[in-house]
Each structure stands twice: as C-alpha cells, then as structure tokens.
C-alpha cells in the first residue's frame, strides 16, 4: 500500500473550509474530461455549464428560485445528519408536502384571501412532517434502519402522488392530461420576477437552525448524540427524542419546500413530478459542512448545476443527466477531501 493515513491530533479547521473548494476544483477538472469525451471543447463546455447561466439577470433569478427548495431541505438534512440520523427520504416528504398543499385549490377552488395561502403552506408542512414520522417511528419503536425505510417511502409517495394526480385530483377540463386545475390568486406564492416567497423561507430556516445548532442546548445535544452517542446517553440526552426531532424538522422543511414549489413555480400539480430536490439536498447538506449557513452557499452552487444541465442540453445537445453526474462527482470529491480534516495523507514506499 502506497497511501497511508496518519491521524491528526486535532481536526484541521482549515480543511473544513478548504475541502469543498478543492472538491469543486476537482469536479471542474473531471467535468472538463467528461466534456472532452463527449466531443465538446472542454473550455466551451465548462463555460456553458458553470458561467453562462449567471450572465443573464433572468437566469440569476431562476437560480435563486431553484436554490430555495435545495436550501430548505438541505438545512433540515444537515441537522439530521449532525445527529447521525440518516433521513434520505426527503424527496418523498417533499412530494407529500406538494400533494397536500395541492388539495386546497382542487377541492376548495373558491377559497381566496391570505388564509388560503397560510393553509396550503401549513398543509405542506404537515404532509412532509407526517411522511417523515413513519421512518422515525419505525426506527425509534422497532429499530428499523431509517436509511432503507425512508428511501422505500420515496417510491411509495411518488406512486401515491401519481395515482392522485391521474385520478381524483385531475382537472376534468385538462383533456386527460395528468394535471390539476391551475392555482389562482392567493393560492399562488407572491413572487418578484422568478423568485418566490420560498426563498425567504429558506433564508429564515437556515438562520434559525444556525442559532439552534450553534447557540442552543438542543444543538449541542444533537451534535453530542451524533459524535459520541454513549457519552451523550450518560449526559441524559434521549436518542429517541432526537430521532423524532430531526425527522420532524427535516420532514416539515421538505414538505414546506414541496408546497412552495407547486405554489410558486408550476402553480398546479402535474405528473410525473420528480425534481430530485430531495436527493440533491443530501449533497447540499454535505457541501455546506452540515452547517445551516454553509448550506445556503451550497444550495446556490447546486442550483447552478441544475441550470447548467439545462443549458448544456439546449446549447450543447448533451443529455441533462450531465447535471446528475456533476452532482454525484461533487459529493464524491467532497467526501474524499474531507479525509484531510481528520488525517494527513502520506505516500510511502514498500517497507
């Protein structure tokens, strides 16, 4: 073995912040190689992917609109992962929130006024929260692995949504297209250009959770349970309570993100609906160092990766799967670079 890890005496704080930058640089290099393999001039490809979406004012607005759900979900996941609870089913909780919020315009189309907006957002929160409580309960009560259960429930919720939008919620006037009536008036989130109110929610959620995690006992409790569960139990912190808490927070925020997405962007429910925000938010949480403020920047970067994928598809004729490849590579490089926080890497010849 040529590559040796040497444990550092202390965590290298410097690498906490350098690691994402190095990972980004490595992703860009790997991206250049992929563009070259796909027969695109690498520099032109990288420019199209990473820079051109930022050149236009309208695109910059769209970037913030796309970052909103990623940050909303990402901060919740950051809190959960800090406590070593692996909610990877945020995509399902997101769809649950969207579905529940969409019930109001379908069944109470005449309801207008600020109350309807509040009700729809609240239903979104409830939808995400309720769907997240299932894996939380199964983990706390029956010790069932929350990674697998929360992920399985994504598939279940996608199918439930599909059934609802093709069946009972479908707009009879939509010529058999699987979509609901369009949301009108107060059923739509206020927006400034492309940016809707969800962006403000994301900012508030990130700041509130930052205070909770850094300044409050709850944050300490979650970090303690995540890093040394035994010691945390001796301190009297309850593992069960933490599981319910982080699933509730991350599920509620994912549900809110779902409600905001359908109320602010598509303004109706449509099938299929697989924006993948819930999965990409996992990368956002890690890139943001599981720190709610870091998540804001990470959310913007991953929103850019979505935009870049769309631009590459239109102008370069490359499949928009390139976005998923960039996202996956980014996470892999971050995890690899994070090794430098705990270890020094040495090359060693055969002894």
């Amino acid at each position: 073995m040529a590559l040796i890890l040497e444990r550092r005496v202390e965590r290298a704080r410097k690498w906490m912040w350098l690691s994402p930058l190095l990972a980004l640089a490595l992703t860009v290099v790997a991206g250049a190689i992929i563009f070259a393999l796909a027969g695109v001039n690498p520099l032109h490809g990288l420019y199209t992917y990473f820079i051109s979406p930022l050149m236009d004012g309208w695109d910059r607005e769209k970037l913030i609109a796309k970052a909103a759900p990623l940050v909303l979900i990402g901060v919740g996941l950051a809190v959960a992962y800090t406590a070593n609870v692996w909610n990877i089913g945020a995509e399902g909780q997101f769809v649950a929130g969207a579905l529940l919020a969409g019930l109001v315009p379908v069944f109470l189309p005449a309801w207008q006024g600020p109350s309807v907006m509040a009700a729809m957002l609240l239903l979104g929160v409830i939808g995400g929260l309720a769907w997240a409580m299932v894996p939380a309960l199964l983990r706390a009560r029956f010790h069932a692995n929350e990674i697998l259960t929360s992920l399985m429930l994504v598939y279940v919720m996608r199918l439930a949504y599909d059934w609802a939008v093709r069946g009972p919620l479908r707009d009879p006037q939509a010529m058999n297209f699987p979509k609901t009536v369009r949301f009108e008036g107060w059923q739509v989130l206020p927006a400034w250009g492309e940016i809707h109110l969800g962006a403000a929610f994301a900012l508030v959620a990130a700041l509130v959770l930052y205070v909770v995690m850094v300044k409050m006992l709850k944050g300490f409790e979650l970090r303690a349970l995540g890093s040394s569960p035994r010691a945390a139990r001796f301190a009297g912190f309850s593992e069960h309570r933490a599981i319910y808490f982080v699933f509730a927070v991350s599920g509620a925020l994912a549900g809110l993100a779902g409600a905001c997405d359908v109320m602010g962007v598509s303004r109706q429910l449509q099938a299929p609906y697989e924006p993948n925000y819930g999965f990409v938010a996992i990368i956002v949480a890690f890139l943001g160092r599981l720190n709610p403020v870091g998540v804001i920047f990470a959310g913007l970067l991953l929103a850019l990766s979505y935009m870049g994928g769309e631009t590459a598809k239109v102008t370069l004729g490359i499949s928009d799967n390139i976005a998923k490849v960039f996202q996956g590579m980014l996470l892999i490089f971050i995890l690899a670079c994070d090794t430098l926080i705990l270890y020094r890497i040495r090359w060693q010849g055969r002894a």
């Binding site: 073995m1 399985m152 598939y155 279940v156 490359i318 799967n321 996956g328």
Partner: protein, 291 residues
C-alpha cells in the same frame, strides 16, 4: 400446472436480480463494510451489459461488461471508504447518485434499441442457475472455509483481526469488489434478460431492496435466497390479484414491493437483541490501523 408454471417463472425472474445483488452485498457486510452504492453499481452494470451486448452482438460479453462495470464502481467505493476512510453511508449514497447520472448519460444512444436476449429455456437462463450456485458457494465459503472465517472475523472485530496479522483492508477490498461485481451482474440480468432493454433508471430501487433483504436474512445466504423468492412471490401475487379484482389502482400494486420491504424490515428489526447478535459488529465502521 399450466397456470402455475408461468407464475413460478415470473417469481424466478423477479427474485433472481435480488439474489445476485443481495448475496454480493451480504459478503460485503460480513466483512464489515456497509455499501449503500448497490443501486448505483447495479444500474452501471445494466447499462454496461446492454451496451456491450448491443455493440458486439453477444449477450455473454454483456454479462462480463456488467460485472466489470459493477466492480469498477466498487473499486471507487473501496478507494474512498477503505483507503481514505470516508463515511460509508454518505459514500454509498454518492456512488448511487453518480451511477444513476452516469448510466443515463452513457445509455442515451441505447434507449429503444434491440439486443439478442440471453438464451433461455422458458425464461430460465444461466444467470438464474448461477444465482443458486452463487448462494451455495458463498454459504460454503463464509461458514465452511478458513478464508470465510477470516472475512467474518474482519467484519466482527477489525482491531483483533488486525492484531492477529490479517490484512483487514485487503480483505475488505476483495469483498467490496466481489459485491460490486455481483451488483453489476444483477443489473446485467435486468437489461440482458429480464426486460431485455435499456431504460433509464430501470433498477427502480431493486438495489435498495437487496440491501434490505440482507438485513431480513440476518446475513445468511440461504435465508437471503428464500427472502428474495418470498418477496418475488408477494409482488407477483399482487399483479395476479389485479387481473381478478379490477379497481385496485395500478400504482398501489407497484408500491407493494416497497411497502413489503418496510414491513419486512420492521418485523426482523423488532427484536433488538436478535438483530444485534446477527449484525456484523464492525458494520459501517471505518478502520484505520494505528502506526
């Protein structure tokens, strides 16, 4: 008999990819590594297998390509989790996300293309037979051979194994590569025999179900095989019921495998002591030797 045989064959077709991927992951977990990248390795196997079969015309070369693609993803996973000691949960997720994207990118030209299907007798092909041989071989290896004992020792207590002079990291690399090859093969079964087509995202969570089956089987090969067939039977039963009882939404039946997986996990995990006694003690814990 005329009615039973087709049902039995569909059950076999549904269970085989789960057996292949599950047995591979069982070996990985027995060595103490939690590989959540099964889904990503599987889909890479599916696209590579299909691509190779499409370009060469030989489904057998497709099988080899599927195994190689799964193992290549596993090598990346191994480098990260074993050499760089990264968090196994996050790394597995990263591999899955990367695999789903990369396979979509590579597979674009293959969508809707025909290939020569793997030769079979009423749907039973060499991979079905191989899945049984694999189960038996892994069961023998883990519980009857000295090398298997070392794998289990590494998975149960890597510090002791290291102290005794066993190469913990090398054993885990081999197990991870084996698991990746099996996952790739399972993907190859889907695109070369089950469908046989390339469809983006065609694994549809089967890699995750295989992971759940390993827990359900308490890390024992023959139980995993039984679990996969039970699972296949339940999901096929749902489709058979649908033909009699109209009015059940098709989405509900499609959701059934995932719901069954959740229920199975709950049943098997309920007894915490039993679960802990069966789980490889070092599962998911990175090992960095002190020097």
């Amino acid at each position: 008999m005329d009615a039973v045989l087709p049902i039995l064959l569909t059950i076999i077709a549904a269970a085989t990819p789960l057996v292949l991927a599950g047995i591979g992951e069982l070996m990985v977990e027995r060595s103490g590594v939690l590989n959540l990248g099964v889904e990503g390795m599987m889909i890479m196997g599916a696209v590579a297998g299909f691509g190779a079969a499409f370009m060469t015309g030989s489904p057998y070369l497709g099988i080899l390509a599927a195994i190689a693609a799964g193992a290549a993803m596993a090598l990346l996973f191994g480098f990260l989790t074993l050499t760089l000691a990264t968090n196994q949960t996050a790394t597995g997720l990263a591999i899955t996300l990367l695999g789903l994207g990369l396979s979509g990118l590579i597979g674009k030209p293959f969508t809707g293309q025909p290939i020569t299907r793997l030769p079979n007798w009423h749907g039973i092909d060499i991979l079905v037979i191989f899945s049984f041989i694999l189960t038996g071989a892994v069961a023998w290896f883990l519980f009857r051979s000295r090398a298997g004992l070392i794998v289990r020792a590494v998975g149960d207590n890597h510090t002791s194994a290291h102290t005794l002079g066993y190469p913990v990291i090398r054993v885990r690399y081999l197990a991870v590569l084996f698991g990746g090859g099996c996952a790739g093969l399972a993907g190859g079964y889907l695109s070369l025999s089950y469908t046989p087509q390339w469809i983006e995202g065609m694994t549809a969570g089967k890699g995750w179900i295989a992971l759940a089956l390993v827990v359900f089987a308490s890390w024992r090969p023959w139980r995993l095989l039984a679990g996969a067939y039970l699972f296949g039977a339940i999901s096929i039963l749902a489709f058979t019921v649908q033909t009699f009882a109209l009015g059940i939404p098709s989405q509900f039946l499609s959701a059934l495998p995932y719901l069954v997986t959740v229920v199975a996990l709950v049943i098997i995990s309920r007894n915490r002591l039993m679960l802990r006694a069966n789980t490889p003690a070092c599962l998911g814990r990175p090992f960095v030797p002190d020097r």
